[in-house]
């Protein structure tokens, strides 16, 4: 075994022990937050902490066992970080429940269970991420269908001004959250095949290489799709997210800054048109620029969140000592505001660093990965999380206009939580393949590895 490893010159260690150690710490983060919430709000450790903590621990250990069995070389940091964020989110939602008399935390725990089981199923049944390349266009089509579903008359539901929900009997879901995973797969498969045409053709203008007109097709299509989401579903966040993913993956695949210039100017044009044409965009921008002008109206959410974060200060008020339930939708969109109030800047920084670690590990998997499809997919998935975190936390802290996206793993929202667990499963699968010491060079990977080499100089 070691002989075979030495054959490649180096090995990545499995690091499953380190993962277990971090997972136990992550459980301390999750269950500790739950206990601190009980102590802060009710003055005693909650009675159901054994059951709650046991369930959380069982889910976490189940994840660990699945990873140990199916992806032994996978990245050791991703899973614990996600478990910690999820546990912290549950505790914060529970704290808001105690203030509002709702039961979101219980539902969120159910969603987490579903998410973890899908995570396990993904790792068990998807033994090689390159299989997904076969479903490039299928998943693209499925994503578009899912994105259109909320617009259908009977199953589509409009909630809080955005038409992004569908109603499937007792449960509602946001198909856009599933669509983002499928879109990453579709983009990765498409760009692997077509990146040469997108990368090489074009002319140079001043300092940037601009792409050819005829290659603008896919980017135009994505732009139109994003605009459609903005116009018909009134969802700024998703429209920004989808276009952002596509643009980043295009840039990564082609290494041409020209695409960024083209895409950014198209995005700015679209955003400006949207601002001029639609009242809901104007409301968001006004609430961003002047949140206190209409404090009891459109600026209420962001204003309360700003007050909360200011009151939280450096160390926060402590769980149960703030009043984050003043913020409307604090458990979903504005969970970072609640964390900022009760855990302070120190806690918010820790959360942001944790997100940074997830993204870094995703990009690391992309760097180490041997096939182009896996590289692009890992990069795209890491980008999904990065963009989402940037857009949400930027909105909450009033860096950019507020858009309605969920904070990954923290905020209440079933579809988002489940989709993000699947994203982590895919990242673990890619990193497992990438870090595995002996490459499994099967026939279908030969195409991509040949495409990666530079030109062959013919001998003699």
């Amino acid at each position: 075994m070691t002989q075979q490893n030495s054959f490649l010159g180096f090995v990545h260690r499995r690091r499953r022990g380190a993962e277990l150690f971090l997972l136990i710490l992550a459980l301390f983060v999750g269950i500790g937050a739950y206990a601190a919430v009980g102590l802060g709000v009710e003055g005693e450790v909650p009675a159901d902490i054994i059951g709650y903590g046991g369930w959380l621990a069982a889910l976490t250990i189940a994840c660990h066992v699945v990873v140990r069995l199916t992806a032994p070389y996978a990245d050791p940091v991703l899973l614990p970080v996600v478990a910690a964020l999820n546990g912290l989110g549950l505790a914060v939602i529970h704290r808001l429940d105690l203030a509002d008399g709702t039961t979101f935390a219980r539902q969120q725990l159910v969603w987490m269970t579903i998410g973890v089981s899908l995570f396990a199923l993904t790792l068990i049944f998807l033994r090689d991420h390159r299989v997904l390349q076969r479903f490039t266009y299928t998943s693209g089509l499925a994503a578009i269908v899912l994105l259109l579903m909320p617009m259908l008359p009977f199953i589509g539901v409009q909630k809080n001004g955005a038409r992004i929900w569908i109603n499937l009997g007792p449960v509602g879901m946001q198909p856009g959250e599933v669509a983002k995973v499928l879109l990453v797969v579709a983009f990765a498969g498409y760009l692997v095949l077509h990146r040469d045409a997108l990368a090489l053709a074009g002319r140079r203008l001043v300092f940037v290489d601009l792409p050819r007109g005829r290659d603008l097709g896919p980017i135009l299509m994505m732009w139109l799709l994003s605009l459609c989401i903005l116009v018909f579903q009134r969802d700024l966040g998703s429209s920004l997210l989808f276009f952002g993913i596509f643009l980043t993956m295009l840039y990564v695949a082609t290494e041409r800054p020209g695409w960024l210039v083209v895409g950014a100017s198209m995005f700015l044009a679209g955003a400006f048109l949207g601002y001029k044409a639609f009242s809901h965009v104007q409301v968001r921008v006004d609430a961003w620029l002047h949140p206190f002008d209409d404090f009891y109206g459109s600026g209420n959410q962001i204003g309360e969140s700003l007050f909360g974060m200011a009151w939280g200060g450096l160390l926060g008020r402590g769980f149960g000592q703030g009043s984050p339930s003043r913020i409307p939708f604090a458990e979903s969109d504005f969970i970072m505001g609640a964390i900022g109030e009760e855990l302070g800047l120190t806690g918010v920084m820790a959360v942001i660093v944790l997100y940074g670690l997830i993204v870094e590990r995703g990009l690391r998997a992309a760097l180490v990965c041997r096939d182009a499809f896996g590289k692009l997919m890992a990069c795209g998935l890491a980008c999904v999380l990065a963009l989402q975190v940037f857009v949400v936390i930027g909105g909450v802290t009033r860096l950019i206009p507020l858009t309605g996206l969920t904070t990954p793993f923290l905020s209440y929202g079933g579809s988002s939580l489940v989709a993000n667990w699947v994203i982590i499963a895919l990242l673990l699968r890619i990193s497992d393949q990438a870090r595995r010491p002996v490459p499994d060079l099967s026939q279908d990977s030969d195409e991509t590895s040949d495409a990666e080499t530079t030109q062959v100089v013919s001998l003699r």
Binding site: T2, G32, V81
Partner: protein, 157 residues
């Protein structure tokens, strides 16, 4: 609940959060050095004499060195005892070739048990065994010709 207890709880929780963050970062830090030669790692870990684990009885008829048979460096050789052997134009290569068609770190010859393998290290112009360009580690027998750029190498007794 007294003010002090609440303060301690708040402080303890932030400490737990940051301990978790810092240990995650330290795992990432040690993971960076996970990429290393396992033979060297074993040696360091065991603290034993380097030759103790590595004394397979050398059978008669097994190759002892790699020789350059064709090209500008013809006649050069490298002992297989120092396996894995790196071939390329770079200064760290065991067989350093002055051949414009050879990459800095072009290929590697290493053993797995009794068997010798050649592996391409992502070179520009590829490594050929016979007339076929190799895409994965390929077994080498005595006298199998490995072509790298304009150079031909083979295993010899």
């Amino acid at each position: 609940m007294s003010e002090l207890t609440l303060f301690l709880i708040r402080f303890a929780y932030l400490a737990i959060l940051w301990i978790f963050v810092l240990s995650a970062i330290s795992v990432i830090r040690t993971d960076m050095f996970g990429a290393r030669l396992p033979a060297g790692a074993n040696r360091q870990a065991n603290g034993r004499a380097p030759k103790a684990p590595k004394a397979p009885p050398r059978r008669r008829g097994s190759p002892t060195h790699v020789a350059v048979v064709e090209g500008s460096n013809a006649g050069e050789r490298a002992d297989l005892a120092q396996a894995p052997i790196l071939i390329g134009r770079g200064p760290d290569a065991a067989i350093r070739l002055d051949d414009d068609y050879v990459s800095t770190r072009h290929a590697r010859i290493a053993a797995s048990g009794e068997q010798w393998f050649v592996e391409d290290l992502g070179s520009t112009n590829g490594t050929y065994v016979g007339s076929a360009r190799i895409t994965q580690p390929t077994t080498l027998a005595l006298g199998t010709q490995v072509r790298i750029g304009k150079t031909v190498l083979e295993l010899r007794k």
